[in-house]
């Protein structure tokens, strides 16, 4: 198993983890505002609900990639089973809450087109979507707050539970990117009037809020 001091069982998972973190960080850092390609070759800003769904999908993908990373770290011996269990259960709870968020936002986005019509402008779709989403606002707020508080807890746990400093920092960066993405979702839903902007949700202030796309 050991050749030149290298544990072959741990080498491949360690490499996988390293590349997973690298690419997840790179991909997430590159996210900005979504835009539509128009038939004539031009570009147009995405509607508010397309943008929210794009950030939401990116966050869900990051969570999925992070689960691979945590499992890889545990198998490679960089994190204990109890620490991995605690992190993975939180990730599962985030995924469950995000499924509910996805369903609510998607329903509001579909409702927007039905009420605004097939030829509606971006502004008309945004207004109609906001009106459609109002009925789901309390549930959306609960689930966004739940995801935010779970991500805050994950930030602390990944910082404490992973022994290797480089992997710990990279994992924490991915978790913070997930926090930024759910923060963007919250900010855009506030901007279009679905959610109240003021928030006492735990930890919301710790995530970086970029300027919301117009």
């Amino acid at each position: 198993m050991f050749r030149h001091g290298i544990d072959g069982k741990k080498l491949l998972p360690a490499i996988v983890v390293c590349f997973t973190l690298f690419f997840a960080g790179l991909v997430l850092l590159a996210y900005g505002c979504a835009y539509r390609h128009l038939p004539g070759g031009g570009k147009a800003p995405a509607t508010a609900f397309e943008q929210v769904l794009a950030w939401n999908a990116a966050g869900a993908q990051a969570n999925s990639g992070l689960a691979d990373t945590i499992i890889g770290l545990q198998r490679a011996g960089f994190i204990s089973i109890p620490a991995a269990k605690s992190i993975l259960i939180k990730q599962g709870q985030i995924a469950e809450a995000d499924l509910r968020i996805t369903n609510l936002i998607s329903a509001a986005a579909a409702c927007a087109q039905q009420s605004a019509g097939a030829n509606a402008t971006t502004a008309e779709l945004d207004a109609a979507g906001a009106a459609c989403a109002k009925i789901s606002a309390p549930q959306l707020r609960r689930d966004i707050d739940l995801v935010t508080s779970l991500i805050v807890a994950l930030t602390d746990e990944s910082a404490l539970g992973i022994k290797d400093p480089a992997k710990r920092d990279a994992t924490t960066a991915v978790v913070k990117n997930m926090g930024n993405l759910i923060g963007q979702v919250f900010t855009m839903l506030s901007k279009v009037g679905v959610l109240a902007p003021a928030s006492a949700a735990p930890g919301r202030g710790i995530f970086r809020m970029k300027e919301v796309c117009s």
């Binding site: 991909v27 997430l28 996210y31 769904l53 999908a57 691979d68 599962g92 995924a95």
Partner: protein, 81 residues
């Protein structure tokens, strides 16, 4: 984007060390940057991507929990409704 793809290809050549989730993340990034003109199609594609990723996460977590001898996540009553 091109540098990401180049690095991805290089990493793959070095021994297929990039796990599938990163390939998926790259696909999502491409979708993120190239939404089509049709609102409904964009909404559906982004919804499907999120639902798939979340279902995948829950399945991975449950598989790991059971492999380690733990109970899987309890069913989400709010989703089942």
């Amino acid at each position: 984007m091109s540098i990401v793809v180049t690095l991805y290809q290089l990493a793959s050549l070095l021994g297929a060390v990039v796990v599938p989730s990163i390939e998926t993340a790259l696909k999502i990034k491409a979708a993120f940057e190239s939404l089509g003109p049709e609102y409904r199609a964009n909404i559906q594609a982004l919804t499907d991507a999120a639902v798939h990723a979340n279902a995948e996460t829950i399945a991975k977590v449950n598989a790991w929990l059971m492999e380690q001898g733990f109970e899987p996540l309890p069913p989400d009553a709010a989703v089942a409704k």
